[in-house]
């Protein structure tokens, strides 16, 4: 933490704002993931951390490395693009798997109840 001495104040405030925004959004999304009731509601909560949590922290690191190195540093953008592209794919696959499992189990439950009703 010793090279922060000549870091300008406006950049420090911008980095602090974006990193606190990203981490608190990730925390809020995870709290919602722990608190919500059904699985299909819980599926939406962590996307708060993957969309604006990742965006805020990536933007903070872009500002920090651009100011401290004196040139435009854009190597963090790859992480942001990758998370934006892959999160809907993985969550859609997971939601379809959960829907398939729920339908299969409900069908077996319905069949079992019908079997119980028939003498």
């Amino acid at each position: 933490m010793s090279e922060y001495g000549e870091f300008p104040l406006w950049a420090a405030i911008a980095v602090a704002f974006f990193i606190l925004l990203g981490s608190s959004l990730a925390l809020i999304g995870t709290i919602g993931f722990a608190q919500l009731n059904s699985f299909y509601e819980r599926l939406h909560a962590p996307t708060l951390g993957t969309s604006w949590g990742t965006g805020g922290i990536v933007m903070a690191s872009i500002i920090y490395f651009s100011v401290s190195e004196g040139r435009f540093a854009f190597h963090e953008i790859f992480i942001g693009i990758f998370m934006t592209v892959t999160t809907p794919v993985s969550l859609m696959l997971l939601g379809r798997a959960a829907l398939y499992r729920d339908r299969t189990e409900q069908n077996t439950e319905v069949r079992n109840s019908l079997d119980d009703e028939q003498p």
């Binding site: 933490m1 090279e3 922060y4 001495g5 870091f7 300008p8 104040l9 950049a11 420090a12 405030i13 980095v15 602090a16 990193i19 606190l20 990203g22 981490s23 608190s24 990730a26 925390l27 999304g29 995870t30 709290i31 993931f33 722990a34 699985f39 819980r42 599926l43 962590p46 951390g49 993957t50 949590g53 990742t54 922290i57 990536v58 903070a60 690191s61 920090y64 490395f65 401290s68 190597h75 963090e76 790859f78 992480i79 990758f82 998370m83 892959t86 794919v89 993985s90 969550l91 696959l93 997971l94 379809r96 798997a97 959960a98 398939y100 499992r101």
Partner: protein, 93 residues
Amino acid sequence: MSSIILFWSISLAQLFLAIAMGISVSRIARGPRAQDRVLGLDTLYVCAMLLLLTFAIRTGNVLYFEAALVIAILGFVSTVALSKFLMRGEVIE
């Protein structure tokens, strides 16, 4: 002044992300069904990747970004493989 702002904001962000990782681990432990545990693993690796990004800002080292990118890629592949396994019962058809 700027060093104090950066130090406390990054420490608070790391505390938030550590709490988020703990909450997702608790959801993995008590999740009622298998898809809740897979979603908890997904949330856990996203929070770990964000924690590595904050470590990169804290130390000024660029090598943490490669580690974060590797975590993101492996987490995406593992989530897709586990979802395929939950849906079909096998990963490669």
